[in-house]
Symmetry: C2
Subunit: 220 residues, 2 copies
Amino acid sequence: MSDLCVGLSDSSLPALYEQSTHINLDKSETLFLSDQAAEHIFNVREGTMTLYRMGAGGQRQILGFLFTGDLFGITPDASYNVSAQAGSEVSLCRWNKDRFDDLLVLYPAMAQQYRLITSKLLAQSLNLAFALGQLTAEQRLAGFLLHISQRQARIGGIPGFAALPMSRMDIADYLGLTIETVSRGLTRLRKKGLISMVTRDLIELSDLKTLSRMNQGEEA
Amino acid sequence: MSDLCVGLSDSSLPALYEQSTHINLDKSETLFLSDQAAEHIFNVREGTMTLYRMGAGGQRQILGFLFTGDLFGITPDASYNVSAQAGSEVSLCRWNKDRFDDLLVLYPAMAQQYRLITSKLLAQSLNLAFALGQLTAEQRLAGFLLHISQRQARIGGIPGFAALPMSRMDIADYLGLTIETVSRGLTRLRKKGLISMVTRDLIELSDLKTLSRMNQGEEA
DNA sequence: CGGTTTGTTGAGTTCTATCAACCGGGGTGG
DNA sequence: CCACCCCGGTTGATAGAACTCAACAAACCG
């Protein structure tokens, strides 16, 4: 998958791993802010990172929840275009931007992997834009739960369940909603029998088919 | 800039241009649909293309208006994740996906250019997600006009003016609004003295500073 | 155990969508 | 040439989804 650094020692590209610096962050620690000079590229080894952007009016749009294996810090400009904060205790790999580029030139297979990763990032952000532009609160929530559960299934979670390590505030800021609307939405999904809440932060997706249809934008 | 094919004959990478097929489309012609097998990558030589995604309920989210020099058709999967339609008479360069990859391996400078382009695409779609998630109708419109005028200034437009070659419907579907809200929004921006409408489709941005602040999400 | 934080539920407001009427330019045909 | 229609855009009235403000409940922590 997107494993560039994680478990890289046993891959065919040990150079990348060797050239990286390891970093650890505590929960809520800020790694970098939007508009700061972009010197590094990062990869999540363990934990979760949150990418977001603040508006001048204090709005926060979360643009991605990152999990193990995810790459971030990519920008076309000299500065980052998002801010990055640890969502949990986190351990990261870090490369100097220019060094990273050198490595990609040196190892074409790695460059190809990089292209695959970035195209996935692009696809993800198009998905988010579609959701924010066209889906209702409930539909966005359905998609969010599916997304999280699929993401977690790949890194050892229970299929059909979504663990929510982030707060309702984070979910709201990701889906372009308020915490109240998120809360109400979850309640309505529950009352419709599409999900059930094991705990506040662990949700069972009981009707994957309907949830998936909702995420496609099917009318109620 | 993103000129991979346009004017490539006089650049340092003639190989890319030589390996491309040229295609012409009439206005409104569909180039490919979402979920179709992705065999090619394209570059706009002249005209405008529209990338969009349809929802199961008939919603359309436009995910990008493409102009001269823009690259599209990038997907991590075997099929496209958006649909592409000509917004005007259009002429394109086309490469076979695999051939294109070969070229990138062959020419590292080209691969680097490609990485820059994709990171710009990513940045753009993050901008859209921020706008759709956090900005009001008026703020989105302000940003849209700025975006268009900047885009056009680079390819020979008049700075401070935005020509809108697309319909109100297209603008609405891009900004996650309805045509009525777009219309009202433009009227309000006009009444505030931030823009003036030379014609329906040519708008003068009279107060770039305020428009820009609005796009950052500053409260009314 | 009290106090603080996080999440849920309720009541009222606001912004955008919906439904409908109207306007104006561009093409067509009488 | 002009009347007519058609289509895209604007404006108006109303409805609905999500937001705001506020109270309450539940979990968390010292």
